[in-house]
Amino acid sequence: MSTEADQIQIIAYCCQHCAYAAADLAGGLRMQYSPSVKIVELPCSGRMDVIALLEALEQGADGILVAG
């Protein structure tokens, strides 16, 4: 059953070499995290661009996480 917290949309932009690999490992270990978090893989967190960030917010994201 979804809770109010689950309705929140957090877009996580993750570097493929560290944060994304860590999320992958967490999945492999069957660790749980909120379904609110949607991961977008980036070749490098330096690829993160303010235009992509604004687009995510415009499309309804409640928060952005850049991890790398």
Binding site: I51, L57, E58
Partner: protein, 229 residues
């Protein structure tokens, strides 16, 4: 290059108040390289305006387009269709581009998104400084390539003045004294004798004091005045 600076979002919102459909027009030349009004800035500003207008309860339809140069008619023809669909045009060009848009699309209300600040140079990443005042009578040949008109706070031709202190200007210790720079440069080049030659009052008529300026190059014109008449 021409250096511009984006106006505060509040001011831009005020200029666009009554419009429903806004077209943000970026310029691909000077204001792109000074990160004020290029394609990126047009996209970012459009997104910000869409979100802020939504939050204010009056959502506006904001789109953006960027042309190579807003100060030439040929490039403006390319965006005729986008302009026709908009209620208002927010130009992110310098003042020249804004005026070109208003002239080229006389039926549209065109407003500026930037303050055009000066003719200058990026001295390092993120820092721009004024270098030319477009005075119409260049004296750089006398001053070792350092402009006393743009860089001396008083535009002195025979400086420095008494306000020069330890190589800095009295108006702000962060501003180097242009005449100190000129002296150092001429000394380094072995041309300090240039400073012994007193400069007569400058002809400001070729600057703004002579009113709006115009250059006509008959050798470049496609139709001369004689043929036109």
């Amino acid at each position: 290059m021409i250096i511009g600076e984006q106006k505060p979002l509040d001011e831009i919102q005020g200029l666009l108040e009554d419009a429903e459909k806004v077209l943000v027009v970026g310029c691909g030349t000077c204001v792109t390289v000074c990160f004020a009004g290029g394609s990126r800035e047009a996209q970012i500003l459009s997104s910000s305006l869409r979100m802020s207008s939504k939050l204010n309860g009056h959502p506006q339809d904001v789109s953006d387009v960027t042309v190579q140069r807003q100060c030439e008619w040929e490039y403006l023809d390319e965006i005729e269709k986008e302009v026709a669909e908009a209620d208002i045009i927010l130009s992110l060009a310098c003042g020249i581009g804004v005026q070109a848009m208003a002239k080229h699309f006389p039926e549209k209300w065109v407003v500026p998104g930037l303050n055009t600040t000066f003719l200058g140079i990026p001295v390092e990443q993120g820092i721009w400084e004024e270098r030319c005042a477009a005075c119409g009578d260049c004296v750089l040949g006398l001053t070792g390539g350092i402009c006393p008109i743009a860089r001396c706070s008083k535009s002195l031709l025979n400086g420095p003045c008494g306000g020069s202190e330890d190589g800095h200007c009295e108006i702000d210790p962060d501003i180097p004294c242009a005449w100190q720079l000129i002296y150092d440069r001429l000394t380094a080049m072995g041309r300090e004798d240039n400073l012994l030659e007193l400069q007569p009052p400058k002809n400001w008529q070729v600057s703004r004091d002579g009113g709006p300026r115009k250059i006509i190059r008959e050798d470049l014109r496609l139709i001369s005045d004689e043929l036109e008449s």
